[in-house]
């Protein structure tokens, strides 16, 4: 089956992020396809490479990046939600005259149309969050 996943909550704040990750891993292991993972609301905070959790805890951001590179996943951060919360890629940094970017490897910033398209193109769209 072809799944897409929406992550609506911030890392470490809400277990929805961990549940989404575990679901995606299990789905891939079972041979399913993940069309797209879309990060919205505080979920965009999953995409900053500046995250530095304590060493004895899971590294949620790196975990996404590794999963994306391992399975060639499409991790999309909503641009409008990202701008509000300071998640920036090199293009956005330039466009908004910021002195740096912080997007983590494997993530890309794009529009809400990517969320709708994921719903249209997938067999199931799963939403993780409150």
């Amino acid at each position: 089956m072809k799944f897409s996943v929406v992550v609506n909550e911030g890392p470490y704040t809400h277990q929805a992020v961990d549940s989404a990750y575990q679901f995606i891993r299990a789905a891939l292991e079972a041979g399913h396809e993940i069309f797209r993972i879309f990060f919205y609301h505080d979920g965009v905070n999953n995409g900053t490479r500046l995250t530095t959790p304590p060493q004895d805890d899971r590294h949620i951001v790196n975990r996404w990046s590794e999963l994306a590179s391992e399975h060639d996943l499409d991790l999309v951060v909503c641009v409008a939600a990202a701008q509000r919360r300071g998640i920036v890629d090199p293009d956005e940094a330039k466009r908004n005259s910021k002195d740096s970017d912080n997007i983590a490897p494997g993530f890309r910033i794009s529009g809400l149309g990517q969320l709708i398209e994921a719903g249209i193109e997938s067999d199931r769209l799963l939403v993780f969050g409150d």
Binding site: Y40, H41, L112, I116, G119, I120, V127
Partner: protein, 135 residues
């Protein structure tokens, strides 16, 4: 692209207090461009999103409620409001924004967009959908 899917946006949060309502509305307005079969549902504290005369001035937070009036122009014209949720919160239909849309197939007649439905009816409507997005 394959044929249109049935999208329902379920709004469960009050307009203020968290970002879910305003960012949820952004999805609906952007999604309207995709010409899918779209409706919205308002349940729980989500019914407060449709209340008339919202005033957020004292909070310093932007009042985005006028944006709901644009939904009709985007052909989002089926907004289901759960009757029990209204009653539980002491609200009546008269206190909601009188949202309308213009039907181009009927000489641009102005028609209401709000439908008050009970919990069982809403349950059936949810069952019919292909995609549910919760905000």
């Amino acid at each position: 692209m394959s044929e249109a899917k049935k999208f329902m946006y379920i709004n469960r949060h009050a307009p203020c207090g968290t970002v879910y309502a305003v960012e949820g509305l952004e999805v609906v307005l952007i999604g309207a461009a995709f010409e899918q079969n779209v409706c919205m549902a308002f349940i729980g504290d989500g019914v407060f999103q449709l209340k008339q005369n919202q005033d957020t001035a004292d909070t310093g937070i932007k009042n985005f409620s006028p944006a709901y009036r644009a939904l009709g122009d985007y052909e989002v014209n089926r907004l289901y409001v759960e009757r029990e949720s209204l009653e539980e919160r002491g609200l009546t239909e008269d206190e909601l924004m009188p949202l309308t849309w213009e039907d181009e197939d009927d000489d641009w007649a102005e028609k209401p967009s709000l439908y008050i439905v009970d919990r069982a009816q809403l349950s059936d409507l949810i069952e019919e959908q292909d995609i549910i997005l919760n905000f």
